[in-house]
Amino acid sequence: GQQVMRIPQYQHVQEGEDFTTYCNSSTTLSNIQWYKQRPGGHPVFLIQLVKSGEVKKQKRLTFQFGEAKKNSSLHITATQTTDVGTYFCAGIPGNQFYFGTGTSLTVIP
């Protein structure tokens, strides 16, 4: 079936270090969305990317959509403890959402 993969599953970083996670799809996506889930919480929408090569920023977070619209990345600059959580991408290859399995970020103070 359709898969939106994320790389990697768990990541531990020292506070102040950068963090990057990726999503790869086997097929072209019409758009991609990123969500964050805090421990014990529910997924919350962060951003949507639609155009090939699109780059969007939210403070220390930078999101990029690949040129072929098959992959995306989320980069956090100078992580803080408030960044802790699981980051999911959600791709829409047809007319249905497919969520990746998420990358769980731990920030070590």
Partner: protein
């Protein structure tokens, strides 16, 4: 703000019981979804609905059914609960199109003994 509520945060049931999970959204959204979330497997779509009385199977519908009699309410039904249905269940809604942002409820942690 969009608000999606789920009937219970925690639920413990016995094998073979019929289980109802309720989800209500207050923003007049057309679309509603049920997911289950398991460690290492992410969010998997069970069923979704794009309109009242309409339902579509997601990726893992086996062992589940749904009901959408009113626009604001989407119910997930486990006809005969089994231990492998122990999971976190998340309801979500979105405005209208299939690519619209999804708003999630707080989740129901279901344990089947």
């Amino acid at each position: 703000d969009v608000k999606v509520t789920q009937s219970s945060r925690y639920l413990v049931k016995r094998t073979g019981e019929k289980v109802f999970l309720e989800c209500v959204q207050d923003m007049d959204h057309e679309n509603m979804f049920w997911y289950r979330q398991d460690p290492g497997l992410g969010l998997r779509l069970i069923y979704f609905s794009y309109d009242v009385k309409m339902k579509e199977k997601g990726d893992i519908p086996e062992g589940y059914s749904v009901s959408r009699e009113k626009k604001e309410r989407f119910s997930l039904i486990l006809e005969s609960a089994s231990t492998n249905q122990t999971s976190m269940y998340l309801c979500a809604s979105s405005l209208s199109g299939p690519t619209d942002t999804q708003y999630f409820g707080p989740g129901t942690r279901l344990t089947v003994l």
